[in-house]
Symmetry: C2
Subunit: 234 residues, 2 copies
């Protein structure tokens, strides 16, 4: 049999369903026809309809329950996705030249606040690093990072003179768990100097903690130069 041109893919079905939601034909809180019915309407199979509806549910448009059926959500629980790119990529993506510089590097006992935060043993040795990332030679980000060498003893042999710990880590550590926060902090003397920002000015800051199978790997604080915004479209 010739493939009729009306043969709908799961993408097509997604689009049709989305249109019906967005034009209000299927209004918030209403129940969609069952997969079986839709399969008939679209001359498709339940498997294909299922994939379309499942993805729309993942994207936050629908809620699905056995027996109860598929319901249009009132407020799409749309999820903002931030890709957490490597600084280098973030900079070169804008066409600017990326430059890295190591500021500080030492092995020290974990400060007590860090030990508490990461659940480290008292006196646990950690690698402390400060680095600067520049975009076209303008300050872009100050990175302050502690690395726990427990799982990663090789890290102590890295100088990080010429490339940042981020690059090194991501290609080596398949982290299993991540906590990421965004906040606004006040530029203290050092931060202000490194970022070339007025003292006391607001600085957009990211805090990142990474674990590998339950064991803390690294804690990083990223201070962005004035004017930075983290943006997403969806």
């Amino acid at each position: 049999m010739a493939r009729s041109p009306a043969n709908l893919s799961y993408r097509d079905i997604k689009q049709v369903v989305l249109d019906r939601i967005q034009t209000g034909l299927w209004s918030p809180d209403s129940i969609l026809p069952s997969e079986a019915d839709l399969a008939v309407e679209f001359s498709s199979t339940r498997t294909t309809v299922n994939r379309a509806l499942r993805e729309l549910a993942e994207e936050g448009y629908l809620e699905r329950k056995r027996k109860a059926g598929t319901r249009v959500l009132k407020s799409p629980i749309r999820k903002a996705q931030f890709s957490i790119p490597l600084v280098r990529d973030e900079i070169t993506a804008t066409g600017a030249a990326y430059r890295y510089s190591l500021v500080d590097r030492k092995v020290q006992a974990a400060p007590s606040w860090l030990a508490a935060r990461l659940d480290l043993k008292r006196g646990q040795e950690v690698l402390y690093l400060r680095c600067m990332h520049y975009a076209d030679n303008a300050p872009f980000q100050l990175e302050v990072r502690w690395i726990v060498p427990d799982v990663l003893s090789e890290v102590l042999e890295e100088s990080f003179e010429h490339s940042g710990p981020n690059d090194w880590l991501v290609s080596r550590v398949p982290f299993t768990n991540l906590e990421l926060s965004f906040l606004a902090t006040k530029a203290n003397g050092e931060i202000a100097e490194f970022l070339d920002a007025p003292l006391g000015d607001p600085v957009f800051t990211a805090e990142r903690i990474t674990w590998l199978q339950g064991a803390p790997v690294t804690y990083a604080k990223l201070y962005f130069a004035p004017g930075y915004r983290m943006t997403t479209h969806l």
Copy 2:
């Protein structure tokens, strides 16, 4: 035939594959066996293996290309997902009592910066709102919002005395497009007063623009009380 306990679901397969990645058995940049081979190994079908790998790819662990095969990504492009909850939900979720208060409400010609940003006609009338959200009577968020009544003429009849525009909007407008930014701003006099923050202190700020099928619907700026952080786990 009895279901053998070794019968693997796509979830099981995901977990096994993830383990092999995280233990380094399949290291970054390496190529996985083909779906067909894996189906044999797991005594499953290609369809099921496909779903497992497809989801791992969506989650940022793998990259898949026809003919090239499935490759383990060096740096998991893990996506941070922020759910953009309604303020009310965010507050009540902590167990605190939510209180809303309308500060300002007027219809005005769109300020020129807003007109430019949203691509409005010159002199286009918009609804301007300022509201406060409190958690246990402590300032939580100052919301400054403009709504374009083009698509939503009913909005002009809403007083927003007792509930915020956010609630009203989400249950009415199936927005098609959203731009969300996070930044750090400096508390000016008004913001400082409303949020009970020291003048000049950093304020974590979200900016949100929403469109409905290409037409701008609303622009909002959300100023959070000092100490706020936006956190995600993955």
